[in-house]
């Protein structure tokens, strides 16, 4: 099977930035197409060379400290997504208010699906999440001590902060922002925050 790849794809392959499916296809293709293999070697060699040269610039830089991660990323996406924001806030506010009423009992009540969330929700609900409404939901992470922990999906889902697949990472519990909202954050190997969940919110299916 002959299916040659563009330089850009091979470059992305080198950086592991292709989707898993494409990564597999490229791997298979490189094994059988010497032309692409040679091109890939050239691209990889050049990438190594250039990154080595640019790395020379880094020698004097102090290593930047890992900053506290805020749940705000991808600003651009928000700019065009007012409606989605409003819907998300509405759901979060709903969950939080439920949470406040029933802090321990976590009934698996079906929450509204995000896809079905009213997209025309007014942004007027914005203040609901700020300051006072967001105040502490100090629910323990694993409150059901009596139950033997069998393998099950976590009740509190993480939200991915980007579209890349998460292969490995560490989960860090921290508080976010001035209001010290408790949250778990998944960090990738490179130190970027990859996913987040607010502790105490409930599953959104």
């Amino acid at each position: 099977m002959k299916e040659c790849w563009r330089d850009g794809d091979l470059r992305a392959f080198l950086d592991r930035e292709l989707s898993p499916a494409d990564t597999e296809r490229v791997t298979a293709h490189l094994a059988e197409c010497h032309e692409c293999e040679a091109r890939y070697d050239e691209i990889a060699g050049r990438a190594g060379l250039v990154s080595g040269l640019l790395e020379a610039l880094a020698e004097l830089e102090p290593v930047a400290p890992l900053r506290r991660v805020q749940p705000v990323r991808q600003w651009r996406r928000w700019a065009g997504a007012g409606a989605a924001i409003a819907a998300g806030i509405a759901i979060a506010a709903l969950l939080l208010s439920k949470q406040a009423e029933t802090p321990i009992v976590q009934a698996p009540s079906p929450s509204p699906s995000v896809a079905e969330a009213p997209a025309t929700q007014s942004p007027a609900v914005t203040p609901a999440l700020s300051a006072s409404a967001m105040k502490p939901v100090p629910a323990p992470a694993r409150p059901r001590l009596g139950v033997k922990p069998r393998r099950q999906l976590p009740r509190d889902v993480f939200l991915a902060l980007d579209d890349e697949p998460i292969e490995t990472g560490i989960v860090v519990r921290m508080t976010l922002g001035e209001d010290e909202i408790p949250a778990d954050v998944v960090f990738g190997k490179d130190g970027r925050a990859r996913a987040i969940r607010l502790i105490g919110t409930q599953t959104i299916h």
Partner: protein, 194 residues
């Protein structure tokens, strides 16, 4: 446990989290600043080789952004604008620096003549290499320089795409081209001594 976490991760596509204190004026700027100021400074620090100057330039750029005010301008994306302005300011600073650098290089050569240690020699060579890399970066199209710098600072393709204002799928192509151009110019100026 981590496996559960990973399986439980949902796409953020349909969600949007709001920063604590959203709704207060200026909070969009806080978010932008938090997320991008360190990255812009790191990029500029590599470019200019002077961290405090990098911070100065970045502060200036963010100041411009805050004055610019309007965010949801459908005509122009904020992030590419921000990074472009920062890169250009960094390149300008680099050009202004080049005179100072030449003076420093001359002073270094003087040190060398008057009997320098191995260390001094090595550090001079490193400095020369840095100067070469910067001068090639300076000669590239600003977007190419920006891509190379951000990538070398460890930005993922999605972040590069946001910063440059292209689709993530075209980042590989742009990066490969920028690298090819960088290598071509480097060899043209300095021969094969890489």
């Amino acid at each position: 446990v981590l496996e559960d976490v990973i399986r439980g991760v949902q796409s953020a596509g349909e969600f949007a989290l709001t920063p604590a204190g959203a709704g207060r004026a200026g909070s969009w700027f806080d978010g932008l600043f938090r997320d991008h100021y360190p990255r812009v400074v790191a990029m500029l620090a590599r470019l200019t080789g002077d961290r405090s100057q990098a911070e100065e330039i970045a502060a200036d750029v963010f100041c411009k952004v805050s004055r610019r005010g309007v965010v949801a301008d459908p005509g122009e994306e904020l992030l590419p604008w921000l990074y472009r302005v920062a890169t250009n300011a960094g390149l300008d600073a680099l050009r202004a620096n080049s005179r100072r650098r030449r003076r420093e290089e001359e002073a270094g050569a003087e040190t060398l003549r008057t009997g320098a240690s191995e260390d001094a020699l090595r550090s001079l060579m490193r400095e020369e290499r840095r100067a070469r890399v910067r001068s090639v970066l300076e000669s590239l199209k600003p977007r190419d320089a920006q891509l190379l710098l951000l990538r070398s600072n460890g930005s993922a393709y999605r972040e590069l795409a946001d910063a440059v204002g292209v689709a993530p799928a075209s980042v590989g192509t742009l990066l490969a081209r920028a690298e090819a151009e960088f290598e071509r110019r480097f060899r043209a100026r300095y021969g094969d001594d890489l």
